[in-house]
Structures are given as structure tokens and as C-alpha cells.
Amino acid sequence: MKIVVALVLLVILTLLFHWLSPWWMTPIASNWDTIDTTIDVTLYITGFVFVAVNLFMAWAIFRYRHNPSRRSHYEPENRKLETWLTVITTVGVAAMLAPGLIVWADFVNVPEDADEVEVVGAQWQWSYRFPGADGVLGEVDARYVGPDNPFGMSSSDPAGDDDILVSSNELHLPIDRPVKLLLRSKDVLHNFAVPQFRVKMDLVPGMVTYAWLTPTVTGKYDILCMELCGIAHYTMRGYVVVDQQSDFDSWLARQPTWSEMRAIPPGDPVAGKASYATCAACHGQQGEGNVAMNAPSLAVLPPWYITRQIEHFKHGIRGASEADEFGRQMAPMANMLPDETAIRNVNAYIATLEPEEPAATLSGDPQRGAAFYNTCGACHGARAQGNYALQAPPLAGQDDWYVKRQLENFRLGVRGAHTNDTYGHQMVLMARSLQNEQSINDLLAYLNTL
């Protein structure tokens, strides 16, 4: 009879768990409360069936438990009962299906006045494109994608010139405006999901898919990739910020258009050399780094990475944490480069410096490290040469003590925890797969062999 008690208890505990547990859907921030209503309808109907079926079963087991003096009832069929059960079930199923289909019709038919924004997925980051003044997104093709053209814009389509390109994981949307998300992938399948919005849709290379919604609550929400897209799938996060219209407009105005992006002049190494004098005090005349000053090698770093880090230091995204002693030293230094031109110039000078092979300061087991590096190599490259497309800096040729400190900082959230450090956030998640100092040393021992 234990089974009867167990069945009744399980039913009761299931209901209690449902009612009392704090774990439920996150508050909604879009127009799709009809989806939540459909869930409620389904929950009530299925909940009733769950309770009824199991309690009836428990009762039947108790009432008709084995009794040697009695025989089972012999009744092969009962057409009337079977017909009734079929009819009632059909009605119940229809009651769940109908609201589902009605809401789906809303989802399939996008309002005509919806704004369009393109969401571009790539391993393992998000970027966005707005149609610009002409309201038309220019033509794109995966074949045009390159370091100077991350969106794959077609040069023959003038409609693309005024497209606004957002090369960051953070998307802004205005409140109370319906928006049609046009979803595009450069490489593999991804899925654009914001739990507060309720809707999600895959991004498929070779085609454009869509979803639509109207944000109804201002705030900053996580974007998660919800279609397995490779080893760093779980780090493919972004943010969507729902703004008041005026805030949105000023944010959008700060983003470059495609023609502005192309018009950026190359940096001037001569002007950059003058600014570099300050940097040289710590990082060395040849950008070779200096362990005594806790300054890493710069000569090995590509300009896009240096630019991003200087911007981060300037804006308190990096080097603001109390625990980041050396990052805090760098923050005021970065402010000595007043604008983007100055950063470009100093980058142009650093690019002329020849990287030196740094001396190994750590020892570990390179074979064990090679196994750990499998994960890192997906972004940083098989030879740790770095990869612009993934915004992953080179690791080979960098000072091992510096890389170690950064891994530890990422692990502890000293670096990469700021919500605007979207690539750093990936490293926070990634660095946690190394559990202790020995593992980090082994990894660096392997990197020193490259």
C-alpha cells in the first residue's frame, strides 16, 4: 500500500512545489502577456488532469488491491465510457489549442508600423544594424565579411551607406514601439532569446528569420543564445536596453553609419610616437613589457584590442575594481589619450614595433596545459595567434605572468564583471573552467611552447 501513499503524496507535493516555490517565469517586459495567459490556461487544464488521473489511480489501487476471495470484474470494453472520455479529452485539447493558435496568428502577422532592426549573430557575439535615414537595410552577403567589413555590407548597394552599425553586444530599443527583429547569422545556428520578452527565434546562416515584439518596460535585459553554437555557446550573451524614445534617439545618434565607418582615416605613427613616450615608461621603448612595472607587452597586441582596452580603462569598464591594483594604475594613464584620433595614432606607432619573445617566468606541465588550451583555442586560435573575428587577442608572445593575472582577475570577476565589458564577460565564464593555480600554470607552460 506504500504505492498508494506515495502517489497521493507526490500529487500533493507537486501542487505545493508549484504554489510555494519561488521559481517561476521572470516578469514580462513586452506585449506578449497573451503567451503567459495561454500558459495559465494550459496549466490549469493539465493540472486538473494530472490530479484527477493520479488520485483515481491511487484510489483504484487501494480499493482493488489483491484479495484472494475476490475476482476481477470481466469487462473487455465499455463503448459508452470510452466515447465519453474521448469527447471530453477532445474538448479539453481544443480549449488549449484555440488560444495558442489565436496568439500565434498575432506572432506571424507583424504590425505594419513596426520598426526594423537587424540582429547579427556570429560565434560568439551579437551585433546590430539599423536601417538609417532611408529606412532601408542595405544588401549584405557572408562573402563580403572581412576585418574591415564585419557586417558583410555590399559596396554596390547605396541603401547601405546610411545603415547604422552597432558593433557591440548591447542593443537599445525604444519603449512602446513595435519592433521587427530581422535575424541573420554569419556562421552557424544561433537563437535570439530575451526571457523578459517571451519570444525567441533561431538565426540561420543563408536566410533571414524574424520575430516581433513591443517592449513595454524600460530596463536592461540579458540576451542569451539558445541554439547550441559550439564550444563557447554559453558565453554568447548580450544586453538589450529598453529606453525612453529620447534616450534611444541619442544612443542611436552616437553609433556610426557604414559610410562613416569606412571614412575613418588610418592612424599617424609619427604623431603616435610622441604620445607613446608616456606609455614607454612602463611598457618599454619597444613595447616589450616590463614585469617589474607590471606592464604587459604591447607590441604583440593588435590595434583593435588596444583600442577597446583603452576605451574600457577610460570609461571605468576595466581598472575600476578595488581589487584590480594594476588596472587602477592604468585608468588615469588611458585618459591621457584625449580622443579616438590619438588612440588611432598611438596604435599606428605600436604596430611598427617588433614583438620580442618574452622570457618564461612560470613552470607547469605543458601537456596538461595543451588539453586545457583546446577550449581557449576555439577563439584565440590553434597557435594562440588571436582572431579579430572573435575579438580574441593573441596569447602567444604575451608575458605569461600577465596572462595568468588576467585569468585570475577574470575568475574572480575583478575584470570582465562590468556589464559593458561584453567580451570580458565571456572570459569570466570561460576562466572558471580552470579550477586552480596549477591548472593556470600548466596552461601558460603550454602557451610558452607556442
Binding site: 506578449w32 503567451i35 483504484a60 484479495n67 475476482r71 470481466y74 556562421d187 563557447a232
Partner: protein, 587 residues
């Protein structure tokens, strides 16, 4: 109707004598069934260990050095693929299908015994190729069990080189093995039934296995062609599933292919696959319930038509796995409707199982406990299917742990409850000995309560919005910290359930030597497999004469009969007081 000439092949009566002819080069369906079964259980244990490793990472993130993101995805992928294909499909059809079909329909063996043997050896080869991928450079594929291109064959996914090639090769070999076995099962059921065994007198076990096999023969080719096409994309650079794309900053030569095409092919196989697993389980649990409740299965004809109907409908619901795949969303209307329609015959089956218990005389034996456990878990899993099948609700829940919890309840835990019920039920027939009842009950309680402790909370992790296939969640604003305690408790439950399977293994092997002799028909069952002259049945099953069938498979507690069961091969006697309907199926 029946072709007894095929069923009766007295030439095969001579028993094989040497070890090799008896256990290795054997064409006896019972030996092949056990070969299938042991191989499937072995590879299933590998997959069980993999799930434990996955749970360690999810329950206690940032703790284990040897589980990196790539290894985690490899565990996920191999766990899923092994459990669905190499354990469940192989054990239900290759194992129980092989053992039960000839015995339950009164045949001496499968109609193509040699091909049956080849089927097993091909299956074993597919398992070896699959497991070999653990030892190649890069390890097994980590593309998820759905193997979606492009990422399955591109850098950035674990095992994108050797691993995926071995996986595809192994699947192709498995499908060849399945086809050889499947043609055999279908032909045997249609052509080799003994005298008097009409289709509508067959036990539901046979109906379930038969229908599932037909589904498999129609569905597996879709997987075979997609495996071959992906193999060509990988090795020869064709573009069946590969559009122009930029992989990790590198422009590749592919162009014009469609990743969504693969998903259609995969799920055209993948959805019927759910029923390839479910239908044999439906059939077997019906027989276990009827036998141990001493009552005829309620609504037999409805049950048969529900099995056939579910099987047919299962080919029209595949795209409910693809509501958010980027296919034209208008398909959602069609597939949501077909998917919810399938709930009706499925619900009828649940009602009929419970109505079989109602007014029965229920023996709470170990098989019966597992059968009751199945009704509970299957009802739960079936009801959550109504969420995911309803296209609108799938939007927030798709790709979250709700999906993982749902399909584990419905096609993980439920069929495994039936498998345990079936193993305990037929153990006396297969080994000739009884298992240890106390250990069996202990195993039941750990498995039943433990799995519910795993999967009930997991639905709520899905409601929170936690995505599946994430190595680590990190911290986010929308998921409370307390969700991690839920994950830890799920992991603890999973490890307990995993370890408790050792009780089962111990019981199976211990009882083989030390169990009480079972004797003839210990449960008092009506079906033919219990009516063989020898227990366990010998090669050729029936001795000199095939059985003659006089009645349907469920004459339990017939009023006026001496005993509370009348085997199918007993002629109808005058004292039986039967209803009009009863007459129809008993001659």
C-alpha cells in the same frame, strides 16, 4: 491469414551444442535478443555515467577541472544519442522485439534467422564505432544529439573532425542493423503467426513492437540520407546543408545549402523515433498491467487503434521541434494542431490503463509497481507535452530546461520504467528463476521517487528561462541565486538514482544463479510465451507441435472459469460465462 508453414520449421529443432554455435554464431531469436539486450545495457551504462558527469558540472559549477566546456558538450551529445538510439531503440526492438515476437505469436523463430544474426553483429559494430570516437583526436562530437549543421562539422565545435565522422558512420551502420532486424520483425508478425492467432488476438506487446518497427522502417531512411549528405558536406565539400558562411573569421567555400533542410530530415526521423521507443513500451506495460491486475486490458480494440493511430500521426508532427527554427512560422498552425490531436489517442491509452486497474485484483509485484510508476511519469510527461506542442507556449519554453525535463519524463523515465517492469516480468521466463523481490522493490523506490526528484524541479528551471546545453549559467539578473540550490539537489538525486541501478544489476546477476526456480508460468499469464513446454524455452520454442490459439490474449478472471486466467491455447469451455463481445474474439 497466418502462414503456419513459415512458422513451423522443424529443421531448426536440433539444439546447438558448442559454445560458439549456442552463444556467438547463434540464429536463435532468444540468444540474439539477449546479445542485443546486454550490449544495449552496457552502452546505456556508459551514457548513465556521462549524465552523472554532466550533472556534476551543472550542480557544482567551477569545481571540476576535468570537465571543460568542450567535454561537457561531448557528454551531452553522447549521452543523448546513446540513450535514444543505442539503448532504448536497441533494447526495446532488438532485445524485447526479438525475444517476444516469435514466442508471443507462436512461431519457432524469426522468419530470417540468419539476417537476424547479422543484424546483431552490425549493431555491435555500430556501438564499437561510436565508442571508438572517445579515443580519436578531438574526441567524440559535441554537436548535441541533433547534430545540427553547420556547427556539427565546423571548427569551434568539439569533435568536428573525427568525432562527427565516426558518429555519422556509426548511425549509418546502426540503421543497416535496424533494417535487417526490422524487416524480420514485420515479416514474422505478418507471416508466421500460429494457428488461430489472428491480428486482433495478438497481445498489445506485439502490436506496439510491430507498429514501432514499421515506423522505424519508414523513419530511419530519413536519418540515413541526412547522415550521408552531412558526411559528404564534411569530407567532399558539398553544400547540402551549408550556406555561404564565415567560420571563425574565415570565409569557407560552401554556398547555397540549407541548414533547415537537415532539421526537417532529422525530425522526420526524430519524431517517429519518440514513438519507436514509446509504442513498444505502451504495449508491454499493457500486458504487465493486465497480468498483475488479473484483469483483461480495458478497451483492447481501442488500444490497438490508438497504437496504430499514434504511429500514423507521428509522421505529421515533426516540425513541432522546429517552431523557432526559422522555418516559415505559418507551419506552426498545422503542426500545433496535429500535435495536439495526437494527445487524444494518447490520453485514451492512459485512461484504459487506469480502467484496467479499476475493479481489478491488483498484485503489487515489482513489475506492477514499475507499471504504476510508468503511468504516473508518463501522464506527467504527456501533459507537459501539451505546453511544448502548442506553438505559442513553445516560444518562451523552447530550448530551456523545460524541454529537457519534458522529454526525459516522457521518453527517458517512462520507457525505462516499462523496461524495468518488463525485465522483472519476463525474468522468470528468460532465466527460469525468480529475482529477489525485496531488492526489486528497493530498486523501484529509488528509481521512481529519485527520478521525480530530478525532473519535477527541472521544469521550473525551464520556466525561469535557463537555456539547455549551457556549460555554466554564470550570474544573470533574471535567475535568482536560489536556482543553483535547485540544480545541486537535482544532481544529488541523479547520482543516487544512478548508483541505485547497481541494485538492479546485482539482482539480475545474483538471481540468475541463486534465485528460486520460477517453474511454469509463475504469474499466471495468458499469453503464449508462458505456455512453452520448457522454461526457459529451448531452441525452436514449442517442441514437436505448434500451439493452437483459441482466444484473445486477455482472458483473466473470466466468470465461471476455474482459474483466474485462461491461456490463449486453451479451447473455450462450456462453463465460461462470456459476454457477446467476448464471443467475437474467442472461437
Amino acid at each position: 491469414m497466418q502462414n503456419v508453414a513459415i512458422a513451423d520449421q522443424p529443421d531448426h529443432l536440433h539444439d546447438p551444442q558448442t559454445f560458439v554455435t549456442k552463444y556467438i554464431y547463434s540464429q536463435d531469436h532468444k540468444v540474439i535478443a539477449i546479445q542485443y539486450g546486454l550490449t544495449a545495457v552496457f552502452v546505456g551504462l556508459v551514457a548513465l555515467v556521462l549524465s552523472g558527469l554532466m550533472r556534476l558540472q551543472l550542480g557544482f559549477p567551477d569545481t571540476f577541472d576535468f570537465i571543460d566546456p568542450g567535454a561537457y558538450l561531448q557528454f551531452v551529445t553522447m549521452h543523448g544519442m546513446i540513450m535514444v538510439i543505442y539503448l532504448l531503440t536497441a533494447l526495446l526492438l532488438g532485445g524485447f522485439g526479438n525475444y517476444m515476437i516469435p514466442l508471443m505469436i507462436g512461431a519457432r523463430d524469426m522468419v530470417f534467422p540468419f539476417m537476424n544474426m547479422l543484424s546483431f553483429w552490425a549493431y555491435l559494430l555500430s556501438v564499437i564505432v561510436l565508442l571508438a570516437s572517445f579515443f580519436v583526436p578531438g574526441g567524440p562530437t559535441g554537436a548535441g544529439w541533433t547534430l545540427y549543421p553547420p556547427q556539427a562539422i565546423l571548427d569551434g565545435t568539439p569533435g568536428y573532425d573525427w568525432g562527427i565522422i565516426l558518429m555519422l558512420a556509426s548511425l549509418a551502420i546502426f540503421i543497416i542493423a535496424f533494417t535487417m532486424g526490422g524487416l524480420n520483425y514485420v515479416t514474422t508478425v505478418l507471416q508466421a503467426r500460429t494457428h488461430g492467432m489472428t491480428l486482433m488476438r495478438m497481445p498489445l506487446t506485439i502490436w506496439g513492437i510491430f507498429t514501432a518497427t514499421v515506423l522505424g522502417l519508414l523513419a530511419f531512411p530519413a536519418l540515413l540520407v541526412s547522415a550521408i549528405m552531412m558526411m559528404l558536406d564534411k569530407t567532399l565539400g558539398t553544400s547540402f546543408f551549408m550556406p555561404a558562411l564565415v567560420s571563425l573569421g574565415e570565409n569557407l567555400d560552401y554556398s547555397g545549402g540549407s541548414p533547415v533542410l537537415f532539421q526537417h530530415l532529422f525530425w522526420f526521423f526524430g519524431h517517429p523515433e519518440v514513438y519507436i521507443v514509446a509504442l513498444p513500451a505502451f504495449g508491454m506495460v499493457s500486458d504487465v498491467l493486465a497480468t498483475h491486475a488479473r484483469k483483461n486490458i480495458f478497451g483492447y480494440r481501442m488500444m490497438v487503434w490508438a497504437i496504430v493511430g499514434i504511429g500514423g500521426l507521428s509522421f505529421f508532427v515533426w516540425a513541432h521541434h522546429m517552431y523557432v527554427s526559422g522555418m516559415d512560422p505559418a507551419f506552426g498552425f498545422f503542426f500545433a494542431t496535429t500535435t495536439l490531436i495526437i494527445a487524444v489517442p494518447t490520453a485514451i491509452k492512459v485512461y484504459n490503463w487506469i480502467l484496467t486497474l479499476y475493479r481489478g485484483n491488483i498484485h503489487l509485484t515489482v513489475p506492477m509497481l514499475f507499471a504504476i510508476g510508468f503511468i504516473f511519469t508518463f501522464t506527467h510527461g504527456g501533459l507537459t507535452g501539451l505546453f511544448l506542442g502548442n506553438v505559442t507556449i513553445d516560444l518562451p519554453l523552447s530550448d530551456t530546461y523545460f524541454v529537457v525535463a519534458h522529454f526525459h519524463m516522457v521518453m527517458g523515465v517512462s520507457p525505462i520504467m516499462v523496461l524495468f517492469a518488463a525485465i522483472y516480468h519476463w525474468y522468470p521466463l528468460i532465466t527460469g528463476r525468480m529475482f529477489n523481490e525485496r531488492l526489486g522493490k528497493l530498486h523501484f523506490w529509488f528509481t521512481f521517487l529519485g527520478t521525480y526528484a530530478i525532473y519535477l524541479p527541472m521544469h521550473y528551471i525551464g520556466f525561469l528561462g535557463v537555456p539547455r546545453r549551457y556549460f555554466a549559467m554564470g550570474s544573470t539578473d533574471f535567475i535568482p541565486e536560489s536556482a543553483q540550490s535547485l540544480n545541486a539537489s537535482i544532481t544529488v538525486s541523479a547520482l543516487i538514482v544512478g548508483l541505485s541501478q547497481l541494485i538492479f544489476l546485482y539482482n539480475v546477476f545474483w538471481s540468475m544463479r541463486h534465485g528460486k526456480p520460477a517453474g511454469h508460468n509463475p504469474w499466471g499469464a495468458t499469453t503464449l510465451e508462458w505456455q512453452t513446454p520448457d522454461v526457459p524455452p529451448r531452441h525452436g520454442n514449442w517442441g514437436p507441435e505448434l500451439p493452437q490459439v483459441y482466444r484473445w490474449a486477455y482472458d483473466y478472471s473470466v466468470p465461471g472459469a476455474e482459474q483466474d486466467f485462461i491461456p490463449q491455447n486453451h479451447p473455450v469451455s462450456a462453463s465460461e460465462q462470456t459476454s457477446g463481445e467476448h464471443e467475437e474474439r474467442n472461437s
